[in-house]
């Protein structure tokens, strides 16, 4: 993938050099299809990926992440660090400098006031801002000189690149949104549907959940960009139809999120009109092994509740059992059947960026049924009563395995059940409707947080490139329980004092190398406890037509982060 991108870049630099220096708007019309259509252009009012990506054509932030996950300056002149003095020695503030001569698409200047206002807008207690977590720990935002903006933190922040960085926390224009604070936010329909931004395109017409048309921004800072004069951003239909419209009929130039069966996608690609590209972020499809007892006979204050060593799961806390379950799985086959271009087998819950990815657990990539059987024999789990299921001390290796309703997940479930039956583990399958499973309703027994099952499967990831908050998911304090209305991220109820110490250490470490080491240690600790069994590192497959150049897929930011550099290849 990387090599191909590089090659394409090289080709673009030589053969199509004129295209890169073309005039703004010289390449005409660009057609993008998002089969789930954006419902608003204000990413602060909707947490959805589709809205954030559509908005990223218009709204921009101080810095963004490129396709390899590195932070690059965008509206800022450079990336502030401790070395260049941009970040305070005590890690309590960061000072950004805006590029010179920045203007909004209406021609007015971008000032520190706009950033101060954006912070106020998103942290307003009644606004229900979806991206409020990007402003966590921000005490204040203030102007420094003409173009400087200082963000003060409440406590030292070793990774200060959250507020105003990435597609999720862009900058709004104060003049347009100042009447829309708090409860008035949804009333500003015109502003929410057509925000004024600094990006390469301007909203021409927005039809919610249907289609958006953009035209090139006359006041964009690079006079030669964007190459396209207009963009049509169509929504609706399904993934298969979107893929067909790019790869087979060529009606569209770019299609997003093509979660299709691999054989379907590769056959469409064989038509030769387009290319499937995938960006790998941090999404991992994984199994969580409940470390607490999920016996239905237990009462609501005990079932799947962590009680400090008591109420442990009868066998899933034994790493040997977890290891055997992991060894029995053929990740390559799951990938081949369900993911194809959109996934690769993985053995880590933290698979990327490279800096943080451990290589200590890669042994899991090869299926080893015999080894798993031997391991269980050795651990004393044998089939003593001849019913085909291993047992020890009267406890049978029988699990309830749940996930959300989704064709690929049910196929994976069926495969895993088959493999586990080969190592003498009995599996009962169950699937729950996604809107309930992920709905977080504390009254429902079927949410993934409540985990009224032995094993569950889903995908999680983290936004941006810094895993600190993600790794803090597995703190003892973050275990869902009746006390916190089952709101917590430590789904498998993993609790180790040494792990908590590592998280603590990371929150005070600013050096990137050291942070990487710590993250790897934490990842390995969880992996070797076998409370999480990672399966597939999932990518986002998209497709673009072969005459569209400049696409650099990234999962660290909006997929369309560099749309200003896209161009038409003439043939």
């Amino acid at each position: 993938m990387k090599i191909r991108t590089l090659l394409m870049g090289a080709v673009a630099a030589t053969a199509f050099a004129p295209a890169a220096f073309a005039e703004r708007g010289s390449d005409g019309q660009l057609n993008i299809i998002y089969w789930q259509a954006p419902s608003t252009m204000n990413p602060f009012l909707s947490g959805g990926t589709k809205e954030i990506e559509a908005a990223s054509l218009v709204l921009e932030s101080l810095a963004r992440f490129n396709d390899s996950g590195e932070i690059v300056p965008w509206l800022a002149e450079d990336i502030p660090t401790i070395e260049n003095g941009g970040v305070a020695e005590d890690l309590t503030s960061i000072t950004w400098t805006l590029k010179e001569g920045l203007v909004w698409s209406d021609g007015s200047a971008v000032t520190a006031d706009d950033l101060i206002f954006t912070h106020e807008y998103c942290t307003h207690p009644e606004g229900g801002c979806a991206q409020a977590s990007y402003f966590d720990g921000v005490a204040s935002v203030e102007a420094v000189g003409d173009r400087g903006v200082r963000i003060n933190f409440e406590s030292p922040k070793p990774f200060p690149y959250t507020a105003f960085v990435g597609a999720e926390s862009p900058i709004l224009q104060k003049a347009q949104f100042q009447e829309c604070l708090g409860t008035r936010a949804p009333e500003c329909t015109t502003a929410n549907f057509g925000p004024i931004g600094t990006g390469p395109f301007v909203v021409d017409e927005f039809r919610p959940n249907d289609v958006i048309t953009f035209i090139a921004n006359e006041n964009y800072r690079d006079p030669a960009k964007p190459a396209f004069a207009t963009v049509t951003f169509k929504g609706g239909g399904d993934a298969a139809a979107a893929a067909r419209s790019v790869l087979e009929t060529g009606e569209f130039d770019y299609a997003w999120n093509l979660q299709l069966a691999p054989d379907v996608l590769s056959r469409m690609e064989a038509a030769g009109k387009g290319t499937v590209v995938a960006a790998y972020g941090t999404s991992v499809e994984r199994l969580h092994l409940n470390q607490t007892n999920a016996d239905p006979a237990l009462g609501p204050d005990q079932r799947s509740v962590y009680m400090d060593g008591e109420n442990a799961h009868p066998f899933l806390t034994d790493p040997k059992v977890g290891q055997a379950l992991s060894m029995a799985i053929d990740r390559a086959l799951i990938d081949e059947i369900g993911y194809g271009a959109g996934g690769q087998p993985t053995c880590n819950v933290l698979p990327a960026p490279e800096l943080y990815a451990s290589t200590a657990n890669d042994g899991c990539l090869v299926q080893d049924i015999e080894g798993a059987n031997a391991l269980l024999d050795e651990a004393g789990w044998v089939d003593s009563n001849g019913n085909g299921v291993r047992d020890k001390d009267g406890i049978e290796l029988s699990v309830l395995f749940q996930t959300s309703t989704n064709a690929v997940r049910q196929d994976t479930q069926a495969l895993i059940k088959d493999w586990w039956s080969q190592i003498g583990v009995e599996t009962e399958l169950r699937n729950v409707d996604a809107s309930v499973f992920f709905g977080g309703d504390p009254g429902s027994p079927d949410t993934f947080q409540k985990f009224y099952a032995d094993i569950e499967m889903y995908t999680n990831n983290f936004a941006g490139v810094d895993p600190e908050a993600y790794m803090a998911n597995w703190l003892c304090a973050d275990i869902p329980s009746p006390e916190n209305q089952w709101q917590g991220n430590n789904i498998q109820r993993f609790c180790r004092a040494e792990y908590d110490a590592l998280v603590e250490q990371m929150s005070t470490t600013a050096d990137l190398e050291q942070r990487g080491e710590l993250a790897k240690q934490m990842n390995d600790m969880i992996m070797q406890s076998y409370s999480i069994i990672p399966l597939i590192h999932r990518g986002n497959p998209s497709a673009h037509i072969n005459t569209l150049g400049g696409v650099k897929m990234s999962d660290w930011d909006s997929e369309l982060w560099n749309i200003a550099d896209w161009y038409r290849i003439d043939n």
């Binding site: 298969a240 299709l260 069966a261 054989d263 379907v264 056959r267 086959l333 059947i337 309703t405 989704n406 064709a407 049910q410 196929d411 069926a414 495969l415 088959d418 399958l429 169950r430 699937n431 729950v432 409707d433 309930v436 429902s444 027994p445 079927d446």
Partner: protein, 325 residues
């Protein structure tokens, strides 16, 4: 021949008091009329065949429709050999296998069971509700107004949107109580039944209103027959023909509605085959494996077609004004 005739004639004269021919029962007439309707005959035959296919099929074709067989995935049906001798087929899998190696013949049988079961159950439910409401409204004058207002109310509800609302909304609680398949079955049958009884109720009410004034009902009432008995003995048998006709319509609608729900992804769970689900799952691969779309699609269409023709024939056969013409 002549001898025999003469014999009958003499004996015939002696047994003058007996009717010459055996009296023809009403159902005999109906059957004779029905037989004349070719379409209805073929339709009825096909419906019988499909029902037997899904009922007896699993006993003959003992392949588990959920069993995965990755090595034999994506097999084509054997008939593709006719034009493509290189086709990837296996005689033990006459209709081929899907992308996970599940036998298509077995999934079609299992899917048919679900689709037909939903169709029949929903149809019976809506008939029961419709007949009850219609008879009550037609016979008891005091209840007529309120029941017909309720019928009007149901008729003015937007059915498909409400169906979708109800399915997306109540799927989870029902599934939790009755299991994923049982819950979904109850939900879909219940919803189709509850939203499709109104035409039956209106027709039945109209018939009952007319019948109620006839002499035989008056006679029954005059000897003190209870209303319940009058309805059961005298009225219900007389409204059987409109009920049967609306039954066929109901069966066709129920099968199509279930398939549509499955197609929109709000029907049965993803690992539970029905014809509609098989069809929608196969759509992404329809150019490579057209049979996976065509087979369930044709089965749905043919079943509904045969039911519709059956209904057409029944209408003609059961209508005494048309019969014998």
């Amino acid at each position: 021949m002549t001898d025999q005739n003469a014999e009958i004639e003499t004996f015939g004269a002696l047994k003058d008091k007996e009717p010459q021919k055996e009296p023809r029962s009403q159902w005999r007439d109906v059957w004779d009329q029905f037989r004349k309707h070719k379409g209805a005959l073929i339709g009825g035959g096909f419906l019988l065949f499909i029902t037997l296919f899904v009922l007896i099929g699993p006993l003959v074709w003992q392949v588990d429709p959920k069993a995965l067989d990755i090595r034999n995935k994506d097999l084509r049906p054997v008939y593709t050999l006719l034009w493509d001798s290189q086709a990837n087929v296996l005689w033990s899998r006459p209709f081929g296998t899907d992308n996970l190696g599940r036998d298509i013949m077995a999934t079609l049988i299992a899917g048919g069971q679900a689709s037909l079961a939903v169709g029949w159950a929903a149809m019976i439910l809506s008939l029961v509700i419709g007949t009850m409401v219609g008879v009550t409204a037609g016979y008891f004058k005091r209840l007529d107004g309120i029941l017909m207002r309720i019928t009007d109310l149901f008729l003015s509800l937007p059915i498909l949107p409400l169906l979708l609302v109800a399915v997306t909304l109540f799927r989870q609680p029902l599934r939790a109580t009755f299991g994923p398949e049982g819950g979904m079955f109850i939900l879909i049958v219940g919803i189709i039944g509850i939203t499709s009884w109104m035409p039956t109720a209106r027709i039945v009410r109209g018939e009952i209103l007319a019948l109620k004034e006839r002499e035989f009902v008056l006679a029954a009432r005059s000897i003190g027959t209870t209303p319940f008995l009058i309805i059961r003995r005298h009225l219900l048998p007389n409204v059987i023909s409109p009920i049967m006709v609306s039954a066929t319509l109901g069966l066709a609608t129920a099968i199509i509605t279930e398939s549509a729900l499955s197609f929109l992804g709000v029907g049965f769970p993803s690992d539970f085959p029905t014809w509609g689900k098989l069809l929608s799952d196969a759509v992404p691969r329809m150019e490579e494996f057209p049979e996976r779309v065509m087979l369930p699609g044709i089965l749905i269409s043919l079943t509904v077609l045969s039911v519709n023709y059956l209904g057409d024939g029944l209408r003609d056969a059961l209508d005494p004004r048309i019969r014998g013409r």
